[in-house]
Structures are given as C-alpha cells and as structure tokens.
Amino acid sequence: MIAEQRLNTLILNAAGEGVLGLDLEGRHTFVNPAATKMLGFTIDELLGQPSHALWHHTHANGSPYPATDCPIYGAYKEGQVYHGETEVFWRKDGTAFPVQYTSTPINDELGELAGAVVTFRDISERREAERTIAELRRQNEYILNSAGEGIFGLDLEGRHTFVNPAAATMLGYEVGELLGESSHTLWHHTKEDGSHFPQEECPIYGAYNDGFVHRGTDELFWRKDGSSFSAHYCSTPLRNEQGILMGAVVTFQDITEQRRVAAQLLEAAKLAEVSRVLGNVGHDIKNMLMPVLTGTSLLEDELAEVFAFVLKEDAKTWTQSKTTCTELTEMITNNARRIQDRVREIADAVKGVTSEAIFSPCTLHDVVKGVFKSLQISAKEKGVVLYAKGLETLPIIQADERRLFAALYNLTGNAIPEIQPGGSVTISGQANSDKGVLKLVVADTGKGMSADIRERLFTSNAISTKVGGTGLGTKIVKDVIDAHQGQITVESEEGKGTTFHLTLPLIQTT
C-alpha cells in the first residue's frame, strides 16, 4: 500500500504535465512539480488555497472570470469530465499561458464525489506553431493570388482544384467558373491550325498521367470569349506524402507581348543588317564609278585630241562621228551620275536609320533650295516644275539639316516620276509662333495614291510603285519627322495629286 502510494507520487513527480487535485470547494489537495513550475507558485502557496482565484481568475481577453462560470468546478460537481483548450491559466507573476486541460471527478473510497484531478499542459508552442502555419497559409495564398503567372491545380481527371486570379483573368473566367471544370475542354481544346487537340496528346495531361514534368512552348490557350493567346506553361505532377500521384500544378504565361517584342527585335535586326549591306554596296559602287566617270572624262579629252588631228576629208562623216562620240560619252557620264545619286540616296537612308540626330539652327529655305538643286535634272527630264512658296520668311528652326534634307528629298523625288509633264511640286511653309511650330506643305499634281498604298505609306511595309524603288522612302520621311518630334499627315486622291502636311517644332526639347 505504502509502496503503491510512493510509486504514485513518483509518477506524479516525474510527469511532464501539470497534475493537481482539488477538493469540492476547489482548493488544492495536491500539486505535482510540473504544475508548480508552470504556474510559478510554490507547493505551500497552492495547497489548501482555492484554485480559481489563484490561476483561473481572468479570461484570455482580460475580462474577469467568475468562479461560478468555471467549467472545471461545473464539470466535477456534475461528475463530468471536462476538456478545455481555449483558456489561459495565470502565473504568480501575472502572466498567462494557453493551456489544454482535463478535469476528471474523483470519488472517495465510499464512492462519494471528493473533488477532481486537473491535468494540464502549456500549449504556447503549439499555439505559436498554429499561428505560423496560418501565417504561412496566408502568405502562400497571397503569393498565389498576386503572382503574375497563371497558377492552377488539376486533379487526376483534369478538373481545376484551385485557380489563382491571374490564371482566371488571362483565361477570361471568374475563379469560381473554373473550379471543378475540365481544363482541357474549357480552354485547351483546339490547336493553332484550328484542329481538335485531343486530351491524350496534351502535355498538361501528360504530367498527371506519367508523373513527369511537361512543358509547353507557344501553345494556344482559349479564352471564354472565344479568342486565344500564345502561352508558355509548365505542368508539374502533384503527389501526396505517400508519393501517390494526385494531379498536377500548372503555371503559365501569356507570351503574346513577348512574341511581339521578339518580332520587333528581329525586324530591327533585319533592318540593321539590310542597312549595313546597303551601305557596303553603296561604297563599292562609288569605288566602281570612279573608273567610269574619270575614264569617260579622259576619253572625252582623248577624243577631242583625236578629232583635232584627224583630217576633215569628209566633213559630214567627221561631224557626225564627233557628235555621236559626244552623245555617247555624255550618256555614260549622265547615267553614272544617276547611279551616284541613287547610291547617295541609299546612304542617306541608311544614315537615317543608324545615326543619332544632331540638331542645330537650320534655315528651311536653304534646305529646300538644296533639295530642288539636286532634283533639278530629273524634274527637267520629266517636264515638272518645282516651286517654293513663302519659305524665305520662315524663322530659323532647330533641326537635323541632313535628315530634313533627306525627308524633303524623298517626298519631292518620289513625287516627280508620278507627275505628268507640265505638273509641279510645291513646298510652302508657314510659322505658328504661338504654338511654337512650323508647318510645311509638300503638294504635287501627280496621280495620287490608293487608300491601300496610303495606309502602308509610313511603315516598313510600304510598297514602291516605281521600278527600282525601295519603298523605304516614306518610312525614312516618317523617321525624320519622328526624330524631330513632329507630325506628318497625307491627303491624297487618285488622279488629283498628293499633299503632305509636316509639322515641326521650332525648338527641340529633350
């Protein structure tokens, strides 16, 4: 008997849980060391003292906890076992800790209710862990919800188990509309060529079918409204703790913009390469023109000498022969000069694409004069007159003179071949100092252009209607005007000519 009591005491002393006995009035009848340690009282301070008043007097929120409300008392008075895990016990030093406790009624040898045994544990750590888990869950949800990539989970039947807002937005659905629905049939049903996309071939399905990670590059995802977008995605198999395949997690991105930028970069790279090649070709041609032009010039001199020495026995033949020689050498020189002009034109175009604009004070009247001078011969050949109106009085503007020259040269030069003899190109100007701009109008009496050509005019896709034309002319013009932060518009009607309206700022702001 005594041995048994000793054993009980040993067990109580060794227990990690707090164990205390209460009599019918709620006073401590015994307390084990774990309980005194947790509550911060000595055994003497506890024994015989009412438990509720010592360490159960106040709720966790700070409000008083009347003994009459206490479930520990309530329970054992009714002979009931009571579990509590939402309350706190108070230490001697006035601090509290969350507990999980059990109050069990005890009977004396006669079977009469004698009190209760309360076992309790400090569950601060568990509460802390729970808080951490909740926090993590919130964070994960936050990450999923704020991720720019679409993220969703699929079960083994391919139905959505969760969907983040980005995924729903990209697909044009509400999150709720997707949950529980089959992913493949909703938005992955059709291939780019319009043919049906069988689920068995789908890499997303592959992940939860064979358990490997599957990636899709550049596949079409279909929106609720029937439109589609190119997506990159990664489908990763999802397994539970036992390693059993549960479905898949899919992350995806809309790569429409990425594709557009890539296409743009490719376009720019192509343009740069074309410019480089054109530049090289231009220089080569200039090199090759040197023997032609200088050689012809030498030939002219030589012929003049020859004709001076040759006897004019047959005056008619001599004159004819001399005229033919002159005509031929002039023809060679003229055509070589035309080649040279065309090469210069290409070189200017290339510069327009490749070099930085340099702004300095610029007199438009002089630029236009220069342009007209360069185009004088071709205008004359076509019987076209070039007019400049009201340019002398224009204010000096800040501009890149070379570029402006190239723009006006292109506009005028492009117009000339399309004009009937007797027609004209007129460049007129007007300053609007209030708005700080200058307006130039380049008007021709040519055959005008169709709506189709007009629309493509200022793009790299412009088409040339002239033999040997690059079609780049107006694109160059647009680039020049853009470089000056200006604007260009065109009015044109077939059969009635074309008018370009250019607006240039007087001063360049950075």
Binding site: M290, T294, S297, L298
Partner: protein
Amino acid sequence: MSTEQGHSMTGGMFGGGHSEGLVLVVDDEADVRKVARMTLEKAGYTVVEAEDGEQAIERIRSGENPLLLGVIVTDINMPKVNGLEAIQFFQKQFPSVSLIVMTGYPNLQSATELMKQGLVDYLVKPVEKEKLLASVKKAMEQREATRSS
C-alpha cells in the same frame, strides 16, 4: 615614257625627261589606279602604282631615290597593310612627302583626324579628274615648300 608604264621604279623613271613630279598611287582596284595614272600622266606627272600599303612601301624602298617622291595618293580600305597603317608609315619614313586620301568609304571622324595630322586632301570617290589634278598640284606645292624650307 617608260615601257613598263610606271609599274616599277627604275632609273629611267626617275631621271628621264621633264616631269612635274613623282606621284605614287595606292589602290587595290586596278582601274582606279589606271584612271588616276592616266589623268596625272597627261598633266605631266610621273606615276608609280601599288596595290596596297605593303607594296607601296616596297616600291618606294626599291626605288633608286625615294627622296624624289613628291605625293602619295592612297585609298584607306585595302587588304594586307591598309591605307591608315601605310599613311603612318609614310609620315614617319618620308615626312616631307605630301599625302592625299582617296576613298569610297568616307568617315568624318577619320577624315578630321587625318587632316589634323597634315593630310593635304581627303577625296571621296568617284573623284573628278579636275579635282584630283587640283589636289595633287596643291600637294606638290606643299612638298616643294617643305623641301625648300
């Protein structure tokens, strides 16, 4: 006129007859050299040709009297020793020789740099006959001025 048409610097070339001066034309294009030579010869100059910088240096060195060389007209984009390297060599070895660049690949920066270093002219191909003659004449005069000073 030498039968070798100025392809080598032999004695006859240096001493024979009256000459307005000796001009070395350096260009990898035979036809460019030819028209330059014909233009200059017609104006009374004696002309030596070279395909590139390396050959130009060789030609001058193997010549009887390099001091007679008045003007070098050179391209700058050539295989092997290019014109820029050749120009540096010429300026070092023959500081009194006048230099003219004649190029189909004009570059404002290198033009400015070269002009600063005492280049007489920077001609852009195709170069007109009259322009080449005017340049060589100017270069020859500068050369005479340096020599007499």
